[in-house]
């Protein structure tokens, strides 16, 4: 390979305060695009959160006007006439809350922001394998997000068939659903481009000495995640194309025969003739959708496990216990996650043989999750733990993910699932994993890697306020939902169960949950202040402030704008050699001889 004399970047290029918006628009550097992903996804996270707060008001006080709604929406808005939410608007908010949080916030934070930024650094690489593909991934993601958000402005509003877009409702719904499908196709393009880039980068751009078993666990989690995205998104692409055809050119792939809507049979105008629609299968969509969406569940948690593993080993000053078991467990988890999708469909009456099969695979898939969780817990044993903000968030991940995972077991067994599936129990189960678990890991990751990205440390006191208030409030929100779920309150009611007798004893919990959710919004203010203040005023840090061992800490903080490293590092050992007996310090970095 020819080597050019590297032109040293100017001070302005190394200083993120001089982060140029114009340069970022055309950049193909993984760090710039990682930051773009992070900022965009945090904005979408806040958007999804605000949408949820509107819904929570409606659930706590159904039929009561939202203070300030007329200023927000206009006094005679069709969505909130007189400040009171109409049911259609509630369902739009529900569908878009899920869609935005999964596809525009959490996955882009985990894979787009942390993955794109950190993986090349942890590999000792100058950039991703395909820098222009990295850029395509980001802009396609942003375009998808813009299409989705703009659909709120359509006359009929946004998509309202849930984030799962089940037909037949999604096919007879308004134009918002078409926007949903177009946005989804853009997100699929972005995800597949990102996944290919990630896999090739990890396999091809590892520096000398960085064998597979020396990869940081975070890189392993990103590798398995990328394979899940690569294999699971295309079938959803196929399903999206078919649903788009059902909506636009009147095919009936997902419409069964004999469908009657509002007292009239569904018909299509084909070649000047009116013919009844039908011949398709609504279940087909569910199979194709969940073939994506169950692996997607693991996409939502694997990179979080990877981040927690990095933070945990560093702050316990101990190697990960059972690193190889964690790696093999993660690979097994990835494979099994492709074989469990129909446990989302026990209510459809698939037949006992299929149900038994998916019940068995679902029980099996919990084993590798428990291996990883056990290994993380065991890594703490005997460690000299530093309880800083990133570590607090990483530690909180363990019980939160534990609760989320264990409450999933009754949903994997058809007998109990039939009772629980359409209740708040399900909402609660996956929010414990994705919000209490994954989002904790994301916040931990932000506090942990912020010094690497900006060259400045975040404020520890504000971080602790953020951590403790968020942890308590999250549990105030989600613990009562288990009670509501087990009481049988349906998760799809716009009035929170007001009209059902069995929901009456647990209705008052809605008010408590809503107040906790509003308080949770306030608890994020210390974080936002901390982020913005530390960006400008945080104390400067050197290259390796946490005394960590993986290769990203060999680069300057922030890394060189072009090529990351002054000279490409060489990996001499495994990723987490902490407290090695006989060494003079309690960490031995991968790059040290």
């Amino acid at each position: 390979m020819t080597s050019h004399s590297p032109s040293l970047p100017s001070k302005a290029e190394r200083n993120p305060a001089a982060f140029s918006f114009r340069a970022a628009l055309v950049s193909t550097d993984h760090k710039v695009i990682g930051i773009l992903y992070g900022v965009t996804a945090l904005t979408f996270l806040l958007t999804g959160f605000l949408i949820m707060m509107l819904m929570r008001w409606q659930l706590a006080y159904p039929g009561r006007a939202l203070p300030g709604a007329s200023a927000l929406f206009g006094s005679n808005s069709a969505r909130m006439p007189g400040g009171v939410m109409v049911p259609e608007f509630y369902y739009q908010l529900g569908a878009m809350h899920g869609t935005i949080m999964v596809f525009l916030a959490i996955v882009p934070l985990l894979v787009g922001a942390f993955g794109t930024y950190l993986v090349p650094l942890q590999l000792g690489a100058p950039n991703t394998a395909f820098p222009r593909l990295t850029r395509l991934g980001y802009w396609s993601y942003l375009a998808g997000g813009v299409v989705w958000l703009s659909s709120f402005a359509l006359p009929g509003g946004a998509a309202q068939s849930g984030w799962t877009s089940y037909p037949p409702l999604s096919i007879i719904a308004g134009h918002g659903q078409t926007f949903w499908l177009i946005g989804m196709i853009l997100i699929i393009v972005s995800s597949i481009a990102g996944a290919i880039n990630m896999i090739v980068t990890i396999i091809q751009l590892r520096v000398i000495g960085l064998t597979y078993m020396r990869l940081p666990f975070f890189v392993w989690s990103q590798l398995v995640t990328a394979f899940l995205l690569l294999l699971a998104f295309p079938p959803l692409g196929a399903a999206g194309i078919l649903q788009l055809m059902d909506r636009v050119v009147d095919t009936s792939f997902f419409l069964p025969s004999g469908l009657v809507v509002s007292g009239a049979a569904l018909t299509a105008n084909v070649g000047g003739q009116t013919i009844p629609r039908g011949g398709g299968s609504a279940l087909l969509w569910q199979h194709l959708f969940w073939f994506l969406a169950h692996p997607e569940v693991y996409v939502l948690v694997l990179p979080a496990m990877g981040m927690v593993a990095e933070i945990l080993a560093n702050n316990a000053r101990k190697p990960l216990w059972g690193y190889k078991s964690m790696v093999y467990g993660t690979i097994f988890l990835g494979v099994m996650s492709m074989l469990v999708w129909a446990h989302h469909m026990f209510l459809t009456g698939m037949g006992t043989v299929i149900t038994a099969f998916f019940q068995a695979t679902t029980m099996i898939v919990s084993i590798p999750s428990i291996i990883v969780l056990t290994a993380l817990l065991a890594s703490l044993w005997g460690g000299a733990i530093r309880f800083n903000t990133p570590m607090l968030f990483a530690l909180a991940f363990l019980p939160m993910f534990g609760i989320g995972g264990l409450t999933g077991l009754p949903l994997g067994l058809a007998v109990t699932d039939i009772h629980l599936h359409d209740t708040y129990y399900v909402i609660d189960h996956f929010h414990y994993i994705v919000v209490c678990g994954t989002l904790s890991a994301i916040f931990g990751g932000i506090y942990y890697w912020f010094p690497k990205v900006t060259g400045r440390a975040m404020n520890e006191r504000l971080g602790r306020i953020h951590f403790w208030s968020s942890l308590v409030l999250l549990n105030c929100i989600f613990m009562p939902m288990f009670i509501q779920g087990m009481a049988g309150v349906s998760r799809r009611l716009y009035d929170g169960g007001l009209s059902y007798a069995h929901a009456q004893p647990v209705l008052k919990l809605n008010v408590f949950i809503t107040h906790a959710a509003f308080a949770l919004a306030l608890a994020q203010i210390p974080f936002i202040v901390n982020l913005l203040w530390s960006l400008r005023r945080g104390p400067r840090v050197e290259a390796n402030p946490w005394q960590a061992t993986t290769l990203e800490w060999a680069a300057a903080s922030p890394p060189l704008a072009q090529g990351n490293f002054e000279t490409p590092p060489v990996a001499h050992r495994g990723p987490c050699e902490y407290s090695v007996p006989g060494k003079d310090k309690d960490y031995t970095p991968q790059w040290e001889q």
Binding site: M1, L230, S252
Partner: protein
């Protein structure tokens, strides 16, 4: 202000010794796996709709097998021309065969367009039944892939061959990943041809 030269990405054109691949080859391989899942999703939908249907085909509408056979022939031509364009390390590239590949791809798209126009004029719209719907879905997705292959192939004589005068390795890499793509599209077409036109 001059922007600093972007860093050289390792193994862009030479294979990494321990994996045996260039980045582009591995990337295209992974893309084709993803694409296989896309066509796999569409084809399994076809299978599910077909086994659920009482009679198949549901009515008298049927795609014209001769046009399908013509499209199969054009894909053979594409693969043959792509293979003929292969060049050694010392021998110069042969732009003629890239143009030939592009021409065959263009003919494929024109055939598809004519096929759709004829079908629509006879009342064979996508909404007639799920069989015809799947016919449009599969052939249109495949034709969009051919269009992308056409653009990629044209980029070689227009952009890459002038580049190849200084960098034959990069040109060879482009040719080989484009060829991988055409082989894949041809293989997928065999399945589409069999299940749709010969059904």
């Amino acid at each position: 202000m001059t922007t600093p030269r972007p860093p050289e990405i390792p193994y862009s054109v030479t294979p990494r010794p321990d994996t045996g691949f260039t980045n582009a080859q591995l990337g295209m391989g992974l893309f084709l796996v993803a694409d296989l899942m896309l066509f796999g999703g569409l084809l399994s939908s076809y299978v599910l709709l077909r086994v659920n249907a009482g009679v198949w085909p549901p009515d008298q509408h049927h795609p014209v097998a001769a046009l399908g056979a013509l499209k199969t022939g054009l894909l053979f031509l594409i693969v043959a021309a792509t293979n003929a364009a292969r060049h050694g390390k010392s021998s110069p590239p042969r732009p003629l065969f890239f143009w030939l590949t592009a021409l065959a791809a263009l003919a494929f798209l024109a055939t598809t367009g004519a096929e759709y126009a004829k079908a629509l004029s006879q009342g064979m719209a996508p909404g007639v039944n799920t069989y015809i719907g799947m016919f449009y879905a599969l052939t249109a997705v495949h034709a969009l892939h051919v269009l992308a292959g056409l653009v990629a192939t044209l980029s070689i004589p227009i952009l890459a061959v002038p580049l190849g005068k200084t960098d034959p390795l990069r040109l060879a890499s482009r040719r080989s990943v484009t060829a991988m793509y055409w082989y894949f599209l041809t293989a997928v077409w065999f399945v589409i041809f069999a299940v749709l036109y010969l059904a």
